[in-house]
């Protein structure tokens, strides 16, 4: 269905090709997952499928990409719209119309389909993706998960043979992500759709994958094959695969269900061992929100939320899309003033502080990290950050080297991948070492090594007496680093406690290791590894 033959692609002005002599064949009816480290060229590969690379981006492409027998050499993206449906990383940026129903019909209108057919397909798609309650809603009032489903629906109505998705679940909460993935599997099974998707949260997509394409980056050749085989060698692997490698399972299980069947031996080996009981962190109070309510027009984003954060704590704020997580962070960061209630950070109201005093107390990395960056190059951005906050020149660059090593200081921030941009924004905010660090979805677009570096960095900051509050859907991140978890629902705090208790007891927020080894409250592969190594001592 999709065929790459000796495809090389170099962006204008780039020193080395992003894709180098790529050969790839994706067969009809396959759900194929593209994995690879941050910035390895996954998005470029996906965008080459319908010719957006190079027709839209410029650059030089050699070799041949064919989809359903049509070559992108002869057909521009618009002439492939009936064959390839493309869903980008940021669905909101791809919306052309203003309401759900019109958006679903847009592609079909361009294809010149019969009105009767259009009407029927829109109704089908509304049902298929569970959108019919939203059919009249303006698109900008939808939550992230809803927007993602509308974006998928909008390309599905044209009944393409191939669906290409770039990080379709990275902005979604675990439950919404599963709903989107379940819809995709259904499309593959029932309609014979070919799906090619890139995703960093492999734990979410691997159970559904027929094949995996590993893009190692730096010009190394692609590895293509059945998921279990490729993952055995992959440098990026979800906790489930790592657990499988640790326990020596063969073939590697791709779903929690398969793993539980194989986990009997591991449970026996772990028998008697308990995960280290993490002592509750009780630092001095650093920031607090007292009975904070925020209203946007008729919408209540936060409803009398009270929260105190002490030094040394890493608090994970969880909850479904639109539950008020980002709003809570914006309050603590002083970006917005609450409708009622008081916010205190280090004894001051953050909303009333001058920018310079604010950064000395709070650092926030927003969801769209790119808004923090406006330097001409990575290097310029780093030195500007040093200047802004009066740091020793080079501090930010050093922090960046820790978060994501080997970034070219000459590159323009806009040319970086989503994950690289996030790393740069993190470095800029982390450099002045603010006592309170706020992170909104810090792992969006980060690969597993990147996440591991972030985890190490956060743990170190917490040990130094910083407090971290992060809003995240990434349960694996919470499992690895959070000391405390707060669950928000509809703007209210519905759960607050030690991270282990909160995530282990929730079917939605439980990490993979906990699901495999439940009822024992193991959270991470590292804990299991430590327990296994310690076995002889305890035995």
């Amino acid at each position: 269905m999709i065929r790459f033959e000796q495809v090389s692609f170099t962006y204008d002005g780039a020193a080395r090709p992003t894709l180098d002599r790529v050969d790839l064949a994706v067969h009809e009816g396959e759900l194929c997952v593209v994995v690879g480290p941050t910035g390895s060229g996954k998005s470029t590969l996906l965008r080459a499928v319908n010719g957006l690379v190079p027709h839209f981006t410029g650059g030089r492409l050699t070799g041949d990409v064919t989809v359903d027998g049509r070559s992108t050499r002869d057909f521009p993206p618009r002439e492939l719209a009936d064959v390839v449906g493309m869903v980008g990383q940021n669905p909101a940026a791809s919306f052309v119309t203003d309401s759900v129903e019109d958006e679903l019909a847009y592609t079909m209108e361009n294809l010149g389909l019969d009105p009767t057919v259009m009407r029927r397909r829109v109704e089908d798609t509304l049902d298929l993706l569970g959108l019919h309650e939203l059919r009249d809603r303006p698109l900008d009032t939808l939550s992230g998960g809803q927007q993602q489903r509308v974006a998928i629906g909008a390309v599905l109505t044209a009944s393409p043979r191939v669906l290409v998705l770039d990080e379709p679940t990275s902005a979604l909460d675990p439950a919404a992500a599963e709903e989107v993935l379940a819809s995709l599997t259904r499309l593959v099974h029932d309609l014979g759709l070919t799906v090619l998707l890139a995703e960093h949260r492999l734990e979410r997509v691997l159970p559904f994958a027929d094949a995996v394409v590993l893009v190692p980056g730096r010009g190394a050749p692609l590895v293509v094959g059945p998921a279990a085989e490729v993952m055995a060698e992959s440098p990026v692997a979800p906790p489930l695969i790592e657990l499988g490698r640790l326990a020596g399972w063969d073939p590697l299980p791709l779903s929690v269900r398969d793993a539980r069947r194989l986990a009997g031996g591991l449970r026996l080996r772990l028998d008697g061992a308990r995960p280290p009981a993490s002592a509750p962190v009780t630092g001095a109070r650093l920031a607090s929100a007292a009975s904070v309510s925020v209203h946007y027009g008729e919408v209540t984003a936060l409803d009398r939320v009270s929260l105190a954060v002490g030094t040394g704590e890493i608090v994970a704020v969880m909850g479904r899309n639109g539950s008020g997580k980002s709003t809570l962070l914006a309050q603590l960061a002083g970006v917005r003033a609450p409708t009622s209630g008081t916010v205190r950070v280090d004894g001051a109201d953050p909303a009333g502080l001058a920018p310079r005093d604010l950064v000395a107390r709070v650092g926030l990395v927003p969801q769209d990290a790119g808004v923090l960056l406006y330097g001409e190059s990575v290097g310029a951005e780093c030195s500007a950050a040093d200047r802004d906050t009066g740091l020793v020149p080079g501090t930010t660059a050093t922090v960046l080297e820790r978060v994501l090593p080997g970034m070219d200081p000459e590159r323009h921030p806009r040319d970086l991948s989503e994950g690289q941009r996030l790393a740069l924004a993190l470095a800029v905010v982390l450099a002045p070492a603010p006592p309170l660090l706020l992170l909104d979805e810090p792992t969006r677009g980060l690969d597993y090594p990147g996440k591991a570096r972030l985890v190490a960095l956060l743990a170190e900051l917490a040990a130094d007496g910083h407090a971290v509050v992060m809003a995240t859907h990434d349960v694996e991140l919470v499992a690895r680093v959070a000391t405390r978890a707060v669950v928000l629902a509809e703007g209210e705090v519905v759960g607050d406690g030690p991270a282990r208790d909160v995530v282990c007891h929730s079917p939605v927020f439980a990490p993979q290791v906990a699901k495999v080894l439940s009822p024992d409250p193991w959270l991470t592969v590292d804990e299991v590894r430590a327990a296994l190594l310690g076995e002889p001592v305890r035995g």
């Binding site: 027709h55 839209f56 993206p77 618009r78 719209a81 493309m86 980008g88 940026a93 052309v96 119309t97 129903e101 019109d102 592609t107 079909m108 361009n110 010149g112 019969d114 009105p115 259009m118 009407r119 049902d127 298929l128 569970g130 019919h132 309650e133 939203l134 009249d136 809603r137 303006p138 900008d140 939808l142 939550s143 992230g144 998960g145 927007q147 439950a175 599963e178 709903e179 379940a182 259904r186 946007y296 008729e298 919408v299 984003a301 479904r320 899309n321 639109g322 008020g324 960061a333 970006v335 920018p355 604010l358 927003p366 808004v371 923090l372 406006y374 950050a385 905010v429 929730s506 079917p507």
Partner: protein
């Protein structure tokens, strides 16, 4: 191509074309008179209809924007008269010091006596412009710009998209400015004053540009601009016909607005021009094979709404032709204007849409369509949700969602 789709389950509000026609007629009516009472009447009628039939959609607030713009126009007009004077004799209110200008600037004067007559005339002229603006504000508030775009003939569609995208640029810019301000604050940089302004311009424009590129690539990937091969002759005929027709229409409209400048009040020109434009557009439309999803029907309410506008402007044209006194306001003598009853009655017919236009069922308030807690957003009714059915935390309830993404937090 314009075949109707199966009967829609519910009306989606009045055809945007009808709203625009009605508003254009009201604006036309305003342009035919300088009587401040009639002008205020037109403004009142328009505002009343908007208040009665507007939705809670984002664009429905544009009336207020246009109202403010109108006030600015009036104030500006009067201020200019005070400053530059227009030498209308009459009751002098006050005298500004006269600034002598060099001889090459003859005809322009700064300062001098300001008369009540001059001020009043400036006010009335400003008012007329303000009411015309208000009519366009009303059309903007009542009809979704996107839906109006969908009604454009196929050949104009692509130009229309370009216009809509550029119109959407302004609100995007406002959002983007907010984002950049927040980001600068988070980076510890000044957000106020000249330094703040200078540092913000580049990132704001950059992000707006980025957004346009993303939108363009998305539109391309979704088939925008697909072409059907058409002969060269047909293309030429389409272009030429449309161009000539538009010229005729513009000339004819001038005749309608400026009484007595063209034979037949310019109406024959408009008619012939419209036919030519129609033929040209139809010929050009063969180049694209775009179809319409659920085209807005043109039924009885649309006829009534447009007719009410035509009656309003017709009454004023008729009053002008009949030479009814009081249609044009004169500052000599300084007195309250009289009310021409024929014209006033015609304008009041323009209130009809407030009754006959159907109420749109679109709702933007998430609270309004919050699903009942017992059954989620179609939970169970569509099999796609079944594999992920999780009893503990309902998946993505449709309600209660704060808008995310670029608009988050800006509703306040």
């Amino acid at each position: 191509m314009t075949r109707r789709s199966p009967a829609p389950s519910g009306r989606r509000g009045l055809h945007p074309g009808a709203w625009w026609l009605w508003a254009a007629c009201m604006a036309g009516a305003a342009s035919r008179t300088t009587n401040p009472i009639l002008l205020l009447l037109i403004g009142g009628v328009v505002a009343f209809v908007v208040a009665a039939r507007r939705t809670s959609a984002p664009w429905s607030r544009s009336l207020v924007v246009f109202l403010r713009l109108g006030l600015v126009v009036i104030v500006l007009r009067m201020a200019l008269v005070v400053l530059f004077g227009n030498r209308l004799p009459g009751h002098v209110l006050f005298t500004l010091p006269h600034v002598p200008l060099p001889s090459w600037a003859e005809g322009v004067s700064i300062g001098g006596p300001v008369t009540a007559e001059a001020l009043l005339q400036a006010f009335v002229q400003g008012l007329r412009l303000a009411v015309v603006l208000l009519c366009f504000g009303a059309a903007n508030s009542l009809a979704s710009p996107y839906r109006l775009l969908r009604c454009l003939p196929a050949v104009l569609y692509e130009a229309g998209v370009a216009i809509t995208v550029s119109l959407a640029f302004a609100p995007e810019l406002v959002i983007s400015i907010g984002d950049v301000r927040d980001a600068r604050r988070l980076r510890g940089r000044p957000v106020r004053g000249f330094a703040g302004l200078r540092g913000m311009a580049v990132p704001v424009l950059e992000s707006a540009f980025d957004r346009s590129l993303q939108l363009a690539s998305s539109m391309d990937a979704r088939g925008y601009g697909r072409r059907v091969p058409v002969s060269r002759g047909a293309r030429r005929w389409a272009t030429g016909g449309t161009f000539l027709g538009l010229l005729l229409v513009i000339g004819g409209v001038y005749g309608v607005l400026v009484a007595g400048s063209l034979p037949g009040g310019g109406i024959p020109f408009v008619a012939v021009g419209a036919v030519l434009v129609g033929a040209g557009l139809a010929a050009g439309g063969r180049r694209t094979n775009r179809t319409r999803y659920r085209p807005d029907p043109w039924g009885a309410p649309e006829w009534l709404v447009s007719a009410s506008g035509v009656v309003a402007v017709g009454a004023l044209v008729a009053a002008g032709v009949l030479g009814v006194a009081g249609l044009q306001f004169s500052v000599y003598p300084l007195a309250l204007p009289t009310l021409p009853w024929l014209a006033a009655a015609g304008i009041l017919v323009g209130l009809l849409p407030a009754r006959v236009a159907p109420v749109e069922r679109r709702s933007t308030s998430p609270a309004a369509d919050r699903p009942r807690p017992t059954d989620g957003p179609g939970r169970g009714s569509h099999p796609a949700a079944a594999p992920s059915a999780r009893p503990v935390v309902a998946v993505e309830p449709a309600g209660a969602d704060v808008p995310v993404g670029r608009t988050r937090g800006r509703a306040a």
